[in-house]
């Protein structure tokens, strides 16, 4: 067997393994931590030692013990269980924001880049105007309109994040659209939608992924801040933002654990996502200036 055929026969490793091999140790740790948090959210009912919302006056402000590994809050609810259950809504909010944001943003960007002219003008102006509304303000207005809860802030944040994604994708899509291969496909009579779905979107995918990661981090921080302000999820729901806010009154009584643990969970999750996002962007040659 010649050298060449040996190379050709060598089986490529599965994608996940190949990805793993290119990770720096820091990124491996970040991925592992993120995986653990997601697993905790999914398996919460199985692994949480206590019910997250059942108070127990006897355990109030209890320190770490065999039954409460991280101690208990002011009304004696198990902190570890609240953190584990809190992962569910704290991750679900940003996930919904990203899931709603990506299709809308991609559609607007492609429309603007492909049609140009008036379509591009209108979309770009609407984007410019929306830029004037900070996400937090939009969320507070939405809460004033529809009341506190999960959905009003999530929808409002989606509306405020779409322009960022659409503006970045529009400029990338515009560059892509002017490449010779698109013209070649058009000459062959391939329809615009087919070019978009089969060629443009796949080529934009790394950029979309990076933007989605960035947006997830911001959404997590913004939603936690809204919960902290009492305008999002309401106590006694287990949510990290709610926990930071509920724990603040205990801080003055010398029990900062509840607020700090929940805050650390938010931070760790966001930092891990940003690290992985940065690594992914670097691999795909997306510079910080493009974001």
């Amino acid at each position: 067997m010649t050298e060449l055929s040996k190379v050709a026969v060598r089986k490529r490793q599965p994608l996940l393994l190949r990805r793993f091999a290119t990770m720096t140790p820091l990124i491996r740790i970040a991925s592992a931590v993120l995986l653990l948090i997601v697993l905790a959210a999914v398996l919460a009912p199985l692994i949480a030692p206590h019910d997250p919302t059942t108070p127990n006056a006897l355990d109030s402000f209890g320190g770490p013990s065999g039954s409460h590994l991280l101690g208990a809050d002011a009304s004696g609810r198990d902190l570890l269980s609240r953190l584990i259950y809190g992962a569910r809504l704290s991750l679900a909010g940003p996930a919904v924001v990203v899931l709603l944001m990506v299709p809308v943003g991609v559609l607007l960007a492609l429309l603007a880049a492909w049609r140009g002219g008036i379509t591009d003008g209108v979309i770009s102006r609407v984007i410019d105007i929306l830029f004037a509304f900070p996400g937090l303000i939009l969320a507070i207005v939405a809460v004033a309109m529809f009341g506190a809860g999960f959905w009003a802030p999530v929808i409002a944040l989606t509306v405020s994040y779409v322009p960022v994604l659409a503006r970045v994708l529009r400029s990338v899509a515009l560059k892509e659209r002017n490449l010779p291969y698109v013209a070649a496909l058009q000459v062959q009579g391939v329809s615009a939608i087919r070019i978009a779905v089969r060629h443009l979107i796949p080529n934009l995918l790394p950029m979309i992924t990076v933007q989605a990661g960035v947006a997830f981090g911001y959404a997590m921080l913004d939603l936690a801040a809204i919960s902290y302000l009492g305008l999002g999820l309401q106590p006694p729901t287990a949510d990290w933002g709610v926990m930071v806010s509920e724990g603040q009154s205990s801080v003055i009584e010398g029990f900062p654990q509840e607020s700090l643990y929940a805050a650390v969970m938010v931070l760790v999750t966001v930092v891990c996502i940003n690290l992985i996002g940065g690594w992914f962007a670097e691999r795909h040659d997306i510079s910080e200036a493009d974001l």
């Binding site: 004037a132 937090l136 207005v141 004033a144 981090g217 806010s245 700090l260 805050a263 931070l267």
Partner: protein, 319 residues
């Protein structure tokens, strides 16, 4: 003033006015379309008398078409008549006036920290050797991910028990008292922006210090200090200024969290309280003010950038 400048300023102000008008329309419509009947809210009861409702509808022009109501509202905003809050039972204007000072002070305080400390840290990390660079990089990476509410809780934890350098709650009185009370909120508010400004500053200075014109200056034997000041910092100023401006503009909405966390009686905490109580008149006014502040600061930054680099006034198209 040259023609280019007149055109530049004209475009900027034009875009500013249009943006503000559309923003005001959007904010008005949001709350106009909000579920719930304003007349019932004004009457204050759960089941008000229909005759009373009809009277209120007439008095507040609630049956007019929406655009007439919008124009009346806009005229009121411009002339300082911002309507009445039915939750706080007072005019919106007097509510805002009582609280605007604290918020303005907080934004200025935080802005000064962001620009002062942020730029200094960025320049130091670029020019002061590896040790400073590593320390500042680690600190900015952590701080960049630290949102206001987290920093607030950490600060309260540190200062509530033990250390009592700064008050952790309330607004204070007198200018010094207020500044004292605003120190922790300003730190909480500015930390992540500060880190952002520092990292952009570092990148800008890094790029300029290895530029060809700097090598040329060095080969001419100029002193390092002079090179830094005149050739590196001056050219690095544009991105630093832009990012500082974006950060300061972003501070206005951030005041909601910082004021709420430390119990400062300002516009931000009023906005949060009004939203929770569904006081639409107050929410409308404060959100409009914050959007306006955001847009105006952005225009100011663009203008300062153009003063530093007049080529920008020639740019057509996207203003």
């Amino acid at each position: 003033m040259t023609l280019a400048w007149a055109g530049f300023l004209g475009r900027k102000v034009g875009v500013l006015v249009v943006t503000l008008l559309i923003a005001s329309l959007a904010i008005f419509l949001c709350l106009y379309l909000a579920p719930g009947d304003p007349a019932t809210v004004i009457a204050g009861g759960t089941k008000p008398n229909p005759a009373v409702l009809a009277h209120i509808r007439l008095e507040y022009h609630l049956d007019d078409p929406w655009w007439q109501q919008y124009l009346r509202w806009l005229k009121g905003v411009v002339t300082g008549d911002m309507g009445t809050s039915f939750v706080y039972h007072t005019s919106v204007a007097s509510l805002l006036r009582a609280r605007a000072f604290s918020t303005a002070l907080l934004v200025m305080y935080a802005g000064a920290i962001i620009v002062g400390v942020g730029v200094a840290a960025g320049v130091m990390s670029s020019l002061r050797g590896r040790f400073a660079r590593t320390i500042i990089n680690v600190a900015t990476t952590i701080a960049m991910g630290a949102p206001t509410f987290v920093v607030a809780v950490v600060l309260i934890t540190i200062f509530s028990t033990g250390l009592s350098w700064f008050p952790i709650y309330g607004s204070g009185s007198g200018l010094l008292g207020r500044l004292d009370h605003l120190t922790l909120p300003a730190i909480a508010l500015s930390l992540s922006f500060l880190a952002y400004v520092a990292s952009i500053t570092r990148a800008a200075v890094d790029e300029e210090k290895s530029a060809e014109h700097v090598d040329t200056a060095r080969s001419r034997g100029l002193r390092e200090r002079l090179i830094t000041r005149r050739h590196v910092l001056r050219n690095a100023a544009a991105p630093i200024l832009t990012v500082s401006g974006i950060s300061v503009a972003g501070l206005f909405s951030g005041t909601a969290v910082a004021e709420q966390a430390f119990g400062v009686q300002g516009l931000g905490s009023l906005l949060v309280d009004a939203a929770a109580k569904k006081d639409l008149a107050v929410v409308q006014m404060i959100s409009l003010l914050m959007v306006a502040a955001f847009v105006i600061v952005n225009v100011l930054v663009d203008t300062i950038n153009a003063v530093l680099d007049p080529r920008l006034t020639m740019e057509r198209g996207r203003a």
